[in-house]
Point group: C2
Chain length 615, copies 2
């Protein structure tokens, strides 16, 4: 089957224009990746003019296809597409990479037609998997998801997590277009033009694969048509030339991430042919609305006796699932440990098993919030470190996702340091706009889960493996940003102990011990580590003359202690007397209580530190 | 070919003992993963008694094979192997998971026969690739590397990065043994017993694959023999039963990570047969010594004019390469940006291209230090977030590795936030025992590179994209843990500005501006962010009455500001007046100077903040 001549002529004209505009905007900017744009221009021209269904006037149309530039450095190309679709005008195109422009060096959702930020390779594609998965499983949506990948980025393991997930779930609404232009940043890629090797690998992960010449408009047209019709995900492995169409740079090394100089660009435009850029028609999506998600009041679970906060998380999630149909839950094959299984048992259709692929899990969560769902993703807190690049980029994507990390700190006991999160508070505090929660009581945890649902940005909750006593009344409420004074609170408190999670219980024991000696201690449950309750800290400073013990089951750097000091300094509280109890030596295995003690963060150490601070 | 009956009998006896001891030690501990140990007991019995060449009395023997339990939760099995090899006695075996025992919940190098810590899945295997790569490329070593993988962990993308790397490099000295026991933590794995699917995938990545019955001792024997002889890496995909040999748990769900109760264990031992555990013979490695690496004095490169610190890193590395033959360099396909290419050009044989696979890069570095090399690994600092779990675990492994992250902060300019590291200082500070360096001058950077070589633990250096002025004399020296006063220094300084990297230059401009108004400012170049120079900070506090401006091209959390406050608090410095200039809004694209200004961390903002603090 060959495309009609008129159709082909349109593709050809659009491809030419995409090349020209990619060069024009990057040359004007003086930087960018024109050659990586040129290799994929034919692929994207055929997609835009022949297969994409997208209403650029209504970027929030729920039936719009999704186009994810996983190779985000080809931003000149995607912006040229927006210009060709009439979404932006030529003047805006020429603001590329300038201060104040929406056209950033790599695409980000400051543009309404961009779902997520890309530019860290190997991320857009796993996010596309999440969008497709939600479309198939939860929404029954008519949209198709198209991901443009670079060949270099297939070196990222996350790409294979994505191929695996989509292949296993038979996400027929997903197409991966791999631009095999043979050249990476500093020279040839590993597989160069061995499209058979790509095909063999991708097929082995359960995909249908078509290997084509990525500059043959007819072949592209046919491939994209069959991709939409396929009954499983399809990859189009397209052999291309980097810099295609401009002899100065075509298939040449040394031209990655480099704009043509103005005189070079002029010659390139001569070569490509000069015609004024124009608007091309793009097919509209069908009329379709997302299912409306019922909501009712959240009823917190009743947790009467000692329970682990991770169990509170699970029960809170299940209760939230009852209250809100937009809530979806992902887990990395440890749902019986994180207790997200409590949700899964009630709402299996809204539970997404990601197996042990934390990067794909976070990416899928990002994808699901693109299409209006409210995702919660959980694993051991230690293993969220695996997905830190994805979490960082989720913030650049302005994504609203909720992460739960269980098994925090040395208090997990016998499993040893590989399973102990001791850096997660630091990692999560240093995410732009993040919220970091660390409750100490299972009922409190369940209530905070409900608060997380409407919180913008990256919201993290840290939970504990061990059972902890119930310290809050069933009617107590917890706002994000708040804290609770759980012992003391009078103006005659001598020392403030700031704790969170497991150490709150140690602090209470310490306060009771000190009370026997007539020493009044204010114990603050800093269940919001970020934004920390600065007012409560300032109040405690006033009462105690600035005497603080901070105790945390975390390395000394970047966690609760740093948060407290920063808040006090920011609030202008001077004259602080400070003792910081944190984990400072590599832990080993042992019983939880033994390890808390060995790390110097048990009640005994709090008592000593508080005494040490007394006037 | 069938193994001789005596050989088979030995295997059988050893396999039985490994099963028994796996159960005994985990039941005594009351926790652990006996069923994951039982599935691989036959594989490991044949390996230990028939194929491994390892002198357990000389764990530092350079020709010893390397055995990496990538499925680290099967620790009862590896400890039972050590007991069978006579490396530990029965009494020690029974201390498993107790406080003070070397036999931690997951293996770690507190035991001399363990190369690296495992327990975070998908890490041991990529590290094994590093050991094999060094053995082939640098050492020409006779050792063979055996990695035992679980089937669940093949969901981790890092495992495919490792298959890719080893396949591409044809590491014939590496064997992956995949224990396909069908059951993950909370139920069946994705591929269950589809060993064909495993084989197809692994073959597509350039490996030879043998699929066998993992309980057929003869088949295992033959597979391991051919693995050592293969001319490329071989994977043995072994179909096994989780809990094999104990009917209570064999192939049963709900038994992951669960010890048998004492009465259940008694029945299991009855079923397996009761014989006293004994010592088995293990083949010794051939006599062989590592090549000795020549060393001469490090001659720092002459850097006369403005240059980027990333360039200082590259030139420093090349100079270090001249001084020390044990130095090896890895990069994730951006060596022309990180400037590790300066080393590569001179020492291509000691340069390891990892393509865009940051996890594999860090894992390979960990592997290379196992065999006595001194690895430096570099990429954009933002993309080191991709490998955070590996960096965290490298600390648990007590590994000595050096990481360089380039393109830090908003000062990279036009490429935008996806490429800007703004969380790396927080991330790296929160690694146990880490060192964090952040120089501001290319010559200083080169000298610090030399200091990094002998530093223990995880040593990180953060570099800048833009050229910065030379501010230090060619003869200046820089110790890790130190800082430099680059403006002011007298007892009449009114304010201290603590800066690092790009902001040092802004601080100098600010100090010069303030000097015009007669205001003396002490500018501290805190080139060691961890361990920060607490004495210099205390001294500055004394001179200035505790007036500090901290300015950093990093998010406000977890970086230089938090480090300074923590050091002052720790040192008992009270009465601190503090202004913190850091990145607080999501940056976009723009020119470096524009972005520094927009983020509020330029000279102008430092001047304002300093003025604000004046008495």
């Amino acid at each position: 089957m060959t495309a009609a001549p008129a159709r082909l002529a349109t593709y050809r004209a659009l491809a030419r224009q995409l090349r020209v505009d990619s060069i024009r905007c990057s040359t004007a900017a003086g930087s960018g990746h024109p050659t990586s744009s040129l290799s994929a221009a034919d692929l994207m021209a055929v997609l835009l003019a022949g297969h994409l269904r997208y209403d650029f006037a209504r970027p929030d149309h729920p039936a719009n296809d999704h186009l994810i530039f996983s190779k985000g450095h080809a931003s000149p190309l995607v912006y040229a597409m927006f210009r060709a679709a009439g979404a932006i005008d030529d003047a805006e195109l020429m603001t590329y990479r300038r201060k104040g422009s929406r056209l950033e060096g790599h695409p980000s959702p400051v543009l309404p037609w961009v779902d997520v930020a890309t530019g860290a390779l190997g991320q857009g594609f796993p996010i596309a998997v999440g969008i497709a998965w939600a479309g198939k499983r939860v929404l029954d949506a008519p949209y198709h998801v198209w991901a443009l990948l670079g060949d270099s980025e297939t070196a990222e393991g996350s790409v294979w997590e994505a191929f695996d997930r989509a292949g296993y779930e038979r996400l027929a609404n997903l197409t991966a277009i791999v631009d095999v232009n043979r050249l990476g940043q500093r020279g040839p890629t590993e597989l160069e033009w061995d499209t058979d090797a790509y095909a063999q690998r991708i097929e082995a992960f359960g995909w249908e694969v078509l290997a084509i010449d990525g500059h043959d408009l007819d072949a592209i047209d046919e491939a994209l048509a069959s991709a939409r019709e396929a009954d499983r995900p399809m990859a189009i492995v397209a052999r291309t030339l980097k810099g295609k169409g401009v002899s100065l740079v075509e298939d040449r090394e040394g031209w990655h991430g480099k704009a043509l100089k103005p005189d070079e660009a002029e010659k390139a435009l001569d070569e490509l042919g000069r015609e004024p850029s124009r608007t091309f028609e793009v097919a509209k999506p069908p009329e379709w609305s997302r299912p409306s998600f019922a909501r009712r009041t959240f009823e917190p679970p009743a947790i009467g006796e000692a329970a682990a906060t991770r169990k509170g998380y699970g029960e809170g999630l299940a209760a939230l699932g009852r209250a809100r149909q937009d809530v979806v839950v992902l887990d990395a094959e440890v749902s019986n440990s994180t207790h997200s299984e409590d949700f899964k048992k009630e709402f299996p259709e809204r539970f997404f098993e990601c197996y042990i692929a934390e990067q794909q899990m976070v990416a899928a969560a990002v994808g699901m919030q693109v299409v209006g769902l409210t995702p919660f993703a959980s694993t051991f807190a230690a293993f969220l470190t695996r997905a830190y690049d994805f979490i960082r980029m989720a913030a650049v994507s302005r994504a609203d996702i909720r992460l739960s990390g269980s098994h925090a700190g040395v208090s997990i006991g016998e499993d040893g340091p590989s399973q102990m999160a001791l850096e997660d508070l630091a990692m999560m505090r240093a995410v732009h706009g993040s919220t970091v929660l660390y409750p100490c009581d299972a009922g409190q945890t369940a209530k905070l889960v409900a608060e997380m649902a409407d919180r913008r940005g990256i919201v993290y909750i840290r939970t504990t493996r061990e059972k902890t006593p119930v310290i809050y009344h069933a009617k107590e409420t917890f706002a994000i940003g708040g804290s609770k004074v759980v012992r003391g609170g009078g103006s005659d408190d001598k020392v403030a102990v700031v704790a969170a999670g497991i150490t709150v219980h140690e602090a209470i024991k310490a306060a009771e011990e000190l009370a026997k000696g007539g020493i009044k201690v204010r114990v603050i449950d800093a269940y919001t580590v970020k934004p920390i309750d600065a007012a409560a800290l300032a109040g405690a400073a006033k009462a105690t003359g600035g005497r603080f013990v901070v105790v945390e089951d975390h390395w000394a750097e970047g966690g609760l202690g740093d948060a407290v000091l920063a808040a006090l300094a920011e609030a202008g509280v001077r004259d602080v007397r400070y003792r910081h109890l944190a984990v400072r030596e590599m832990p080993a295995s042992g019983k939880p209580a033994e390890l808390l003690h060995a790390a110097g963060i048990s009640a005994r150490h709090i008592v000593d530190a508080a005494r040490d601070l007394l006037p």
